[in-house]
Every structure is written in C-alpha cells, then in structure tokens.
C-alpha cells in the first residue's frame, strides 16, 4: 500500500523549521540572564521542540534526523535534570546542531542524498554530545542526586491499576461493564477486581436499570498503555476511566483516585493489592500535594512530570501565500468594478441606487483593508533571526556586540519581510565588521567594551522605516571619497555633499576594506541592499558621525498591491501618485504670476523656496495650456519637497496597483498602472524617483558646464 506522504512531509518541513527557530531563540535566550525557573522552562521548550521533530522524522523514517535529534534530546534531558551544566560551548554545539538538523530535514524531505560534509558535521556533533553524556559519577553533582531521587518518587506502583466507574446510564445505553472486565481478565494475569457498592447503599430510590457500581482492577501485564486502553475503547465515553501502568506519575494517580467516588474505600482496597507503598496511599488519602512533604523538591518534580502547560495557544491559521494573493487580486478586481458601477449609478441619477452604491463601496473598502491586513506580518520574527547572526559574527571577529530590538510588532507586507531580510543581513554584517570596534579600541576611545547594535522599526508618514544603528566608529568619509576617486566613481575635483559620500557605500563593487574577509569586503553586499530596497519602491539613507556610529534608514511603502492614490491629469491622460506623498494642492496662478516663472522652475511659497517640475514639458507634450488652468501639487518624500505642475486635479482614488511587467522594469519614475472606473488605464508615478532623477540630471548638466 502506498500513501502519498508528500503533503505530510511538506508540513513536517515547515513545522520543523519553525520548531528549530524556536529552539534557536530559546538557546540564545539561555545566554542572557534568566532565573532558574525561566531557564528550566526554556530548556523544556527546546526539549519539546527537538522531541517533536524526532517523533515526526521517525514516522517518515528519516534515520539521519532521528539519530541526531535523539542524541540532542538525550543531552537536553540530562541538562534539564541537571546532570550536565549548560555552558557556552554546549550552547554553540546545540546551535550548530540545530543548523545540521535543518539541513538534514530538508535533504531528507527532498529524498536527496546527504552530502558527506553534513554527515561529517552531524557525526562530529554526535561525538561532542557523547562526550558530555559520558558517564560521570552522579554523586559529583548533589543536584543531580536529588533529581534521581525525585524520579523515583512516582506513585511507585509495581502493578497495573485501573479505576473504572461506569456512568449511571451505562445499561440503558446497551453496554455491560462486566463484558469489558471479563475480556480484560483474559488478556492479563492475576486480575483482582474490587467492586465498590457505596453509592448503592446511599441511594434511597433504587432503579434497577441504573448502574451503581464502580470497580478497581489490579493486574499484571506486559502490554502497553494504549493496548490496555483499547480494551475499554467502546465504553470510554460512558465511564470514568483511569489507567495507571506500573510507575505512573504520582500526581496523575492522585487526581484520578480523588475522582473515584469513595476514596477511603479505594485506598483500603489498593492497600490490599500490596503493589503501592502505604505512605504513598496515605498521602493520597490525606490529599497531600506530595508523597512526602519532607521532600519539597518533589513538588517541582511532579509538575515537570505533568504535560507541560501550553504556552502559546495556537490562534493562527496557516494559509498558503498563493491563496492569499489570489484573494487580494480578486479584492482588487472588486474595487475596480465597484468604482465602475459607482460611475454608472451616478450617470443614472437614481438617488436610491447611488445611496446603495455608496454603502456597498464602503463595505468593499472595509473588505479591502482587512484582506490587505492578512498579508501583514510582524517584523519581529525577521529581527529575531539576526540575534544568531550577531552572536556568530561577533564571536568570529572577537568583538562584543549586543543587539537591541525595538518595534518588533511593527507590521509590514509579507513580501517585504522576505525581501528585506537579505539587505538587513548585509547591513548588520557590515556594521559589525566595519562599524563596531574591537573591545580594546573601544576602551581607548572611552566606550563600553560591548558595542550596541540597534534594529528599530516604526511607521512614519505612510511608510515603514527600518533603522539599523551602531555605536561604532562611523563612516570614514575621507577614505570613502578616496576609494571612490580611485575607482572612478567620482571625479577628483568634484566635491560631494556629505549625504552623497555616505551613499557611495552602496555603489557596486565599492569597498573600503583593505582585505577581503569571509564576512565582508568584496563590495557586493551593500549594492544588493540598495537594489533590493529600490525594487520594493523604497529608499535608503545613511547618517554617520565619526566615533559616534552610523545609522542606516530603510524606508519602505506600506503595501504593494492597493494604495490610496491621488489622481490628476496631464494632456488627456490620468496619473496617480500615492496620496500620502501629497502635502497640498494649489491653483498655480494664485501663488505665482506667469511672468515670474518664465525661465525658472521654483516659486516662493509662503516665504519658502519650492522647486517644481512641469509634467507637460517633462512628458514632451509640445502644446501648452493657459497658466490660469494649471494646478500645483506639492509632494513630500522624506525631507524632499517639490511641486508638480499638472493640468487638472481629479482627487483621491482607490488604486489597485497592477504591475507593468518586465518591459518597463527599471524605469525609474513609473511604479505601475491602475485601472479606472471607466476601464481606462492610469499610470502610477513614483514621485520621489521623479524628483530625484530631475535633481540628478540638473546636477550633471551643471557639472558639464
């Protein structure tokens, strides 16, 4: 029989990745200061993670994974019992084992041969763990000894016990408890049955159809718990059933005993079986929390024996990204069609219809907003990944770096999260390698030995800002400029403003590092940063102060697919710009007379200089319209403010961004297209790129002159 396991395997891989991520987070958490209880909770959760993976891998028969996870599990078990002391070296080993497990899981799932390097690594790790696990006389650790003792403090029963209380209505439902006990008697040896008839005595009106009996069954068997439970499978919904294999947990046993209607009677009967020590039973009878109050630690032991309390009740639903994309596409279509229907409704002039349409439009807007929110994820998960990166790189470079994370709950589009992760990695590597100094240097410059690297995310005027700042030595501007001139990126005599010098670090192939290390220095990474961010319609800024550190600001738009737009027209065609870039709109002739802007492109707006671009001329439209009919849209992007002179204003517009495809890729000023209610297409302009390109061209022209 062959079952298609591929779907299950995919789930296994995703789940394992998540669990391994939890494990990594946990391990890193262990390095910080935690109380003993917190530590043991974290170790427990790591243990559970690795245990789950081992279990699932076992189902699919991924032997490599099982082998490695088994030894990790054993090690972790010893750690939580206090047999092994968790030191830094062990955490490192566990971290790398996490990576190897991930590789193994992925390779096994793809049914690919595991490469010898990974196998070797896995073997190495197994050996490392074995060293830790090497038998050590437990008496060396007083802690461990105690734990061993605690372990023995289970209920201490040597035989099986079943507490079997059928419901009152069991006969009416056509079930006979005796049949089950009879069957059990054939399956096990030395069955002793005690029937409790207490409830029969206490009742006044006897109903012959009701059940008043409860049973205590005691027997020997080498069957597993589930096999025994199977015997009672049919009646389990009609009875209270407590099954206790030999050496069951005390706590569990106690609770079940108390569920039994008459505890004292039960205790008497169990005593007669001589399988459980008397003091244990007394403890149960007196409803004590532990077997012996004299050993307080056993309380903890009992707790840890219980199924661990679930920390995060799962409130999330896993949905395939593709399905979500399709939903958002459809919502986009709905927005467009809604706009069209609205237009038609207005044409008819039917008031009720128009009102109904307005209501519908509002609903559509709500649906749009909520469906877009589905794609929003918190950036915290991405940020947390860098804890490991920071730890590894700083250790490799012999630097002390602490990563602070702020605004982890800032939400942004899933697509961004994926694409922003790579750039962040490069920036962080660079910050640690070039920015933060070695502890010795830091002492000399009077800074604390541990460098601080800060990741921060927040919302700012319609965009999301991700800030990466370090308190290192800052950018060396002279060195950057010198390198740039050497590489021919900048002409020797040309002086650059500070901001642009900083941006040179993003130029392809640019590096100030004297030697190429395996962390940075090739000049590739920062180029990737800039390109990735720009492909998301974002921008990068650098601020740096010598000896104080540098900050890199990544600015990203909130979402990719549907935006609030502002529409205007230029020469019969409609254009849309993101609404949140628009500061204000004015009639051009109200702010400036025609003769004042004959030969220049700036106005004096409330004593502020405001340069503008006349889109008609930029788009190469020859004919001009009367000055009085022109409008001015003032836009702002970051600190950049400028005006756009357009023909007429059309107002706010729900814009579904349609990609223009690869044909128009890399065209700086055009970020997409949208479909209007009339079915016409409008081009979405990228305002910041438009203005920046204009500035750049002006500058090169000036430079040539």
């Amino acid at each position: 029989m062959s079952i298609d396991l591929s779907a299950a395997i995919t789930t296994f891989v995703t789940e394992s990745k998540e669990l391994l991520q939890d494990m990594e987070d946990g391990l890193l958490e262990l390095e910080s200061d935690l109380s003993k209880e917190q530590k043991s909770e974290v170790i427990n959760s790591i243990f559970r993670a690795i245990h789950t993976i081992k279990g699932s891998a076992g189902i699919f028969g991924f032997k490599n994974v099982v082998d490695l996870t088994h030894i990790i599990e054993t090690t972790l078990d010893e750690i939580r019992l206090g047999e092994i002391i968790l030191d830094n070296k062990l955490i490192t080993a566990l971290l790398s084992s996490r990576d190897v497990v991930e590789t193994l899981v992925i390779l096994s799932a793809q049914e690919t041969e595991v490469d010898p390097a990974t196998l070797h690594k896995a073997q190495d790790l197994q050996n490392t763990f074995k060293e830790y696990l090497a038998p050590e006389p437990p008496s060396h650790h007083p802690d461990a000894l105690q734990n061993r003792e605690n372990l023995a403090q289970s209920a201490g029963n040597t035989r099986w016990h079943i507490l079997f209380t059928p419901n009152e209505n069991v006969y009416r439902d056509g079930l006979d408890p005796f049949a089950f006990i009879f069957f059990l008697s054939k399956e096990v040896t030395e069955l002793q049955v005690d029937t409790y008839t207490g409830s029969l005595e206490s009742t006044d009106a006897f109903d012959p159809e009701s059940n008043y009996l409860a049973f205590h069954l005691c027997f020997d068997s080498d069957k597993s718990e589930s096999e025994i439970a199977d015997i009672f499978d049919f009646i389990k919904t009609e009875a209270v059933l407590g099954i206790f294999p030999p050496n069951a947990a005390f706590e569990q046993f106690k609770t079940a005993c108390h569920e039994f209607s008459n505890i004292n009677y039960l205790i008497e009967k169990i005593k007669k079986c001589h399988s459980i020590e008397t003091h244990v039973l007394d403890a149960i009878a007196q409803n004590k929390a532990t077997i012996s109050e004299a050993i307080p630690t056993s309380v903890e032991q009992d707790k840890s024996k219980q199924p661990p309390p679930k920390l995060h009740q799962s409130k999330t639903l896993r949905v395939e990204a593709l399905k979500l994309d399709r939903l958002i596409d459809q919502v986009g279509e709905m927005v467009i069609t809604g706009a069209r229907t609205n237009l038609l409704a207005h044409e008819t002039g039917n008031e009720t219809l128009i009102e109904a349409m307005a209501l519908l439009e509002r609903l559509v807007e709500n649906i749009r907003d909520s469906s877009l929110k589905l794609r929003m994820v918190q950036i915290g998960e991405t940020f947390n990944k860098f804890k490991r990166v920071v730890r590894d790189i700083s250790q490799e470079l012999g630097k002390e770096v602490e990563l602070t994370i702020e605004g982890a709950d800032t939400e942004l589009d899933k697509t961004f999260v994926e694409k922003v992760s790579d750039p962040l990695m490069h920036i962080i590597r660079n910050a640690i390698d070039h920015g933060i100094e070695s502890p010795q240097e830091r002492i000399i410059s009077g800074k604390p030995t541990t460098g601080n690297l800060k990741l921060r995310a927040y919302h700012d005027s319609g965009s999301i800002v991700i800030e990466i700042s370090d308190d290192g030595k800052g950018l060396n501007k002279t060195k950057i400029l010198q390198r740039a001139i050497e590489k021919g990126l900048v002409a020797q005599e040309h002086s650059l403003p500070e901001k642009e010098i900083n941006l040179l670090i993003f130029a392809p192939g640019f590096s100030t590092a004297d030697s190429v290390t395996n962390i940075s220095g090739r000049g590739v990474g920062m180029d990737v940063v800039k390109r990735n961010i720009e492909s998301l319609r974002g921008s990068v800024e650098v601020e740096s102060e010598p000896d104080k550190g540098s900050t890199i600001l990544i600015r990203l738009p909130l979402t990719l697919s549907i935006i609030d737009g502002f529409m205007f027209s230029v020469h019969n065609d409609n254009y849309v710009i993101p609404l949140d870039t628009v500061v204000e709109c004015l009639e051009l002739h109200e702010v400036v007379a025609e003769q004042d802007i004959q030969d220049k492109s700036y106005i004096n707006l409330r004593t502020e200089v405001l340069p503008f671009i006349r889109l008609r001329s930029l788009f190469g439209v020859e004919e001009r319209i009367a000055h009085t009919r022109e409008s001015l849209v003032i836009v702002q992007f970051g600190t950049l403010r400028a005006g756009l002179v357009v023909d007429s204003l059309k107002g706010e517009f729900q814009t579904v961004v349609k990609p223009l495809g690869r044909l128009f890729e890399g065209l700086k000023c055009i970020s997409g297209a949208t479909i209007l209610g009339s079915g016409d297409v409008a081009i979405i302009l990228d305002v910041s790129a438009l203005i920046k390109s204009a500035i750049a061209v002006y500058e090169t022209l000036e430079f040539k002159q």
């Binding site: 279509e333 467009i336 230029v570 065609d573 409609n574 254009y575 671009i613 889109l615 001329s617 930029l618 788009f619 190469g620 349609k658 990609p659 223009l660 495809g661 690869r662 044909l663 128009f664 890729e665 890399g666 065209l667 700086k668 000023c669 055009i670 297209a673 949208t674 479909i675 079915g679 016409d680 297409v681 409008a682 081009i683 302009l685 390109s693 204009a694 061209v697 002006y698 022209l701």
Partner: protein
C-alpha cells in the same frame, strides 16, 4: 470588428497570421497569438520611446502595446485607422519563467495561411525594408513573398527595456535643458 479566436488545440505550428504593417504583409506564428482585438485608445506611458504605443486594459490586466511600425523601423509610417488591430502575443519570458502578454498594434489583419516547408525561402541577404535580425524566413504564398517575423527578436524584452531606459533619460535631459 470581430474577434478572431485562435485555435491552438490542433497545435498546427505551420499556421501563420498574416498582418499588414505599414505597406507590407508580415507573418506571425499563430500558436502564440492569444487573440486579436480591435484598436482602442491606449494610455500613453510617459517618457517612453515611440516603440511603445501605450498600455491597454484587457479584462483587468494592463498590457503594453507596441507600435510595430516603429519597432521594425519602417520609414513611412501609416496612420492607424478602424481596420487597425491589436494582436495579443503570448510567450514565456525565460528570465522570470512566466508567461508575458504583449500587444502589437498592426495596420490590419489579412489572413491565416498554412505554410509548409516548400513555401519557405531564406531571407534576402540585403535589401529588406526591416532590420535583418527581425526576419526569420520568407514565405512564398499566392506568388507573393511575405516576411515571416522572428518574434523572439522583435519582442526581445531586454532590448526594448534598455531602449526605454535610454529614452527616459533623454526626456529628463531635454526637460532640464529647456
């Protein structure tokens, strides 16, 4: 104008759609032709080269339309009229591995022809009115020679993209100089 639905189920790779571009007829392999729609007003994409006529809305997708007369660098451009059509051509972009649809604005659609191996002639070594890289073969049908276009070259996305970038820069320079 009626829509001419293409029949791709038979997979006749020897069928060609003959269209009139400028004064001449050209053949386009019909397998990749998704549909032919009437010429509607296009939305101009600002700061683009004349190769791009504009973009249109086809059932909710925004599709770029190429002015094929310009693309083939024909000297005398005819105006488009009510016989003009937009041929939607579908192909797989190797770079991203996805299907791309581009519209080609042609002066008119002429016919669908079966072309077998014996109809084919090699392209003239010189003297053609369009750049040689766009010509795949010549077809001798009804005693007339018709150029069969090499569509992978005519609709070379990378090349057109580069062209657009240069022309965009030109727009900025012109604006800033004026």
């Amino acid at each position: 104008m009626e829509m001419i639905e293409t029949d791709t189920t038979h997979g006749n790779n020897n069928r060609y759609l003959f269209v009139c571009i400028g004064h001449d007829n050209f053949g386009i392999p019909i397998d990749a032709v998704k549909e032919v729609i009437e010429y509607t007003d296009t939305t101009m994409v600002p700061m683009c080269s004349t190769v791009i006529k504009g973009v249109i809305n086809v059932r909710g997708s925004v599709i770029p339309v190429l002015d094929i007369q310009n693309r083939l660098s024909l000297k005398k451009n005819l105006n488009y009229n009510r016989y003009s059509c937009i041929v939607l051509y579908e192909f797989i972009d190797d770079v991203i591995g996805e299907t791309v649809t581009l519209g080609m604005l042609v002066n008119s659609v002429v016919s669908i022809e079966y072309i077998t191996h014996e109809h084919l002639e090699s392209s003239p070594s010189f003297g053609s009115n369009i750049p040689r890289q766009y010509v795949w073969k010549m077809a001798k049908i009804h005693n007339r020679l018709t150029t069969l276009l090499d569509m992978s070259r005519v609709l070379d996305i990378n090349e057109i993209n580069a062209l657009l970038k240069t022309s965009q820069d030109k727009f900025f320079v012109n604006y800033c100089k004026s």
